[in-house]
């Protein structure tokens, strides 16, 4: 294990910013810490770096407990959200800083700096100062500076937070390539689920200082273990149903839910892709009117209104949309192919983490 956290808690005053978190990162893995802002993910990153100290729990880097090892001896590379480049130093001096501090030989420093300038596409910018660089260039200097002393782990705080949407996409691919080439264990913080899904080998999902789920992008998307993860990763339709005769009902919708007593209230969730639409009104069980179509590039999102007024979201491809001859205002039939019981509760579901229940692997059945 490259990085390991065991029951790590961090209190700021009375409030836990990180609450009893345990997880590990494998050697060479590219891992995302994902969650809404204020979820404690940056605090976790800073604790691994040694910039914050845990209130309790243990931190390990390559099997060595590092709780009492100061930042400068942990041999980590840290890329700050706003890069924190040394303003009074040129690009070259920024990159060489860590090597100089570690008393590398001058020739070695020059060779290493040249290597990184090449790798990060910064050649020709050696003599520039940070204020003479674009945002993307600054970020690459920050990464080069962190990589220079050959750290055992790379930690990046919101690496794509400060650049605009078009560049983010390029940066993501570029980070994957870089990680592939260097194979350094990398942990990065993001609040963007798409970014985490696309870039990382595994994702750790945080909310309110607690670890919600850890898994590959596919696992957290397809098998969310609680409602928070289900809602946070991707889009999800949720409805609250009451059980009558083993079937959860809401308006015209029916969800068979064996094993739950009559009168219980359940929260049911299903992904937009599970809502199948047909222009043939007799093909599927429910009727609905297509209220609005959102174009998301190659995929489209449909807003469908049931006779009871309930709105469901569906996702289909452009081809399918054209094939079905859909347009806003048309009547369609639909079915829900798979669904999950997200939580059991009475009345409105409290947003508290404790209110979430573990889900059985798959409750959903085709209707």
């Amino acid at each position: 294990m490259s990085i390991e956290l065991k029951n790590v808690t961090k209190l700021f005053g009375e409030t836990p910013a990180v609450n009893d978190v345990s997880f590990s990162v494998k050697e060479g893995e590219l891992m995302a810490l994902l969650g809404p802002s204020g979820g404690g993910k940056t605090t976790v990153l800073r604790m691994i770096a040694g910039l914050e100290l845990p209130t309790s729990g243990d931190l390990f880097i390559r099997g060595q407990r590092v709780n009492d090892i100061p930042v400068r001896k942990r041999n980590i590379g840290f890329v700050f959200q706003n890069y924190a480049l040394f303003k009074n130093m040129t690009v070259l001096k920024n990159i060489a800083f860590g090597l100089k501090i570690k008393k590398w030989k001058r020739a070695d420093i020059e060779a290493r700096a040249a290597e990184l300038l090449e790798l990060l596409g910064l050649k020709g910018l050696e003599k520039r100062y940070p204020h003479q660089l674009s945002g993307g260039q600054r970020q690459r200097v920050a990464i080069a500076r962190a990589l220079a002393p050959k750290p055992t782990v790379m930690l990046l705080d919101e690496p794509f937070g400060a650049v605009d949407a078009k560049i983010r996409q390029e940066l993501r691919e570029w980070l994957v390539h870089l990680h592939h080439d260097l194979n350094v264990t990398t942990l990065f913080v993001t609040h963007d689920q798409e970014e985490a899904m696309e870039v990382s080998d595994r994702i750790v999902i945080f909310s309110r200082g607690k670890l919600e789920q850890i898994g590959t992008p596919r696992e957290v998307y397809e098998q969310p273990t609680n409602e928070f993860v289900a809602q946070f990763i991707g889009v999800m339709n949720t409805v609250e149903v009451e059980i009558q005769g083993g079937i959860g009902r809401l308006g015209e919708l029916e969800f068979p839910t064996p094993g739950h007593p009559d009168g219980a209230r359940l929260r049911i969730g299903f992904r937009p892709y599970a809502v199948q639409v047909s222009s043939d009104l007799t093909q599927f069980r429910y009727r609905a009117v297509l209220r609005r179509t959102y174009f998301l590039g190659i995929m489209l999102r449909l807003e469908l209104e049931l006779p009871s007024g309930l709105i469901l979201r569906s996702r289909i491809s452009k081809e399918e949309y054209a094939q079905l001859g859909l347009s806003d205002g048309r009547e369609v039939s639909l079915q829900i192919r798979t669904y999950r019981v997200l939580a059991r509760d009475t009345g409105a579901l409290a947003p508290e983490v404790q209110a979430f229940y573990d889900l059985p692997p798959s409750v959903g059945e085709n209707i």
Partner: protein, 308 residues
């Protein structure tokens, strides 16, 4: 950074012209009043100092400056500045660092305390030390027994000057350090630097212009201080007289008028040099500020090649 604020207002000038244009006569009246005031109360007296100093010719000017008592006054002034300025440099750095980068109990109190010397009359500042270390003071008897002289001697003058010039460096540095934040230092730590290396390679260079500005102001005040030094020095000719004190005592002498102006012109010259340096440093910090602003605006990312 006073310079930054000033020119921010300046850059809005063109907007005034276009939008809320004042009638020209108001503009010109205000400009006239300001200029006339500056001329009458600032420039004219200053020019008069040089005029009076040179009134009896350059030879007399040099002669009055080379009197032994005047010489010793100049030396003493330099000595006091040479001790109190570095002291306040160190203190200012420590205080600014503590206030800008740490949260601690009593921080607001310390911030207020730093301003105390500005709020207190210099004469009172001097008196404080007399009350502490004078013969009638708390430590007076003990000091006398051990034959240590503070009041009416150089140590007392250094103390009083240090007290009076206490706020300059810290006050200049606090806003600069706040603005810089502590991320650069944290970055240095993650790269393996220890506290001293971080301070020397990262913190100090990033505040150097603010620091220099504070030191210039501190030095000017240290050399020009009169009230506090007057109280603790007893202005003994040739021994505890600084330039400012010497000017006053020469002036009181019926024959000393021109010599007083000669020495005063030296102090005035120091003021002019200080102003010149201050303007330069302001220009320099302003330029850094502008560059930072511009780069913040132009921080538009650009195309990135994936490593092959």
């Amino acid at each position: 950074m006073a310079g930054a604020v000033k020119s921010n207002l300046g850059s809005g000038r063109s907007a005034y012209r276009r939008g809320t244009a004042e009638p020209p006569f108001i503009k010109w009246t205000l400009i006239f009043i300001a200029l006339a005031f500056a001329l009458l109360f600032l420039l004219l007296p200053l020019a008069n100092v040089f005029y009076e100093a040179m009134g009896r010719g350059f030879a007399f000017y040099l002669k009055s400056l080379s009197e032994p008592d005047t010489h010793s006054a100049i030396r003493l002034t330099l000595l006091i500045a040479a001790i109190s300025v570095p002291l306040n440099l160190v203190f200012g750095l420590a205080a600014a660092w503590a206030i800008a980068k740490f949260e601690f109990r009593g921080k607001a109190m310390l911030t207020t305390l730093i301003d105390l010397p500005f709020a207190v009359s210099p004469v009172v500042s001097g008196l404080v030390f007399v009350l502490l270390f004078g013969l009638q003071g708390y430590f007076g008897a003990w000091l006398d027994e051990h034959d240590i002289r503070i009041i009416f001697a150089v140590p007392g003058m250094v103390l009083a000057t240090t007290f009076v010039t206490f706020p300059f460096v810290a006050r200049e540095l606090i806003p600069v350090m706040r603005e810089t934040g502590s991320e650069q230092e944290q970055a240095a730590l993650t790269l393996g630097a220890n506290g001293w290396q971080t301070f020397w390679h990262v913190t100090l260079p990033s505040v150097k212009w603010g620091l220099l500005y504070g030191v210039i102001l501190c030095n000017a005040r240290a050399m020009g201080e009169y009230g506090a030094v007057y109280v603790v020095s007893a202005h003994i000719m040739g021994r505890t007289e600084t330039m400012s004190l010497r000017v006053a005592s020469l002036y009181e002498d019926p024959q000393g008028g021109p010599a007083a102006f000669a020495l005063a012109s030296l102090l005035a010259l120091l003021a002019l040099v200080t102003l010149g340096l201050k303007t330069f440093v302001e220009w320099k910090t302003q330029r850094n500020f502008d560059l930072a602003q511009r780069s913040a605006e132009s921080a538009k990312p650009e195309t990135i090649r994936a490593p092959a």
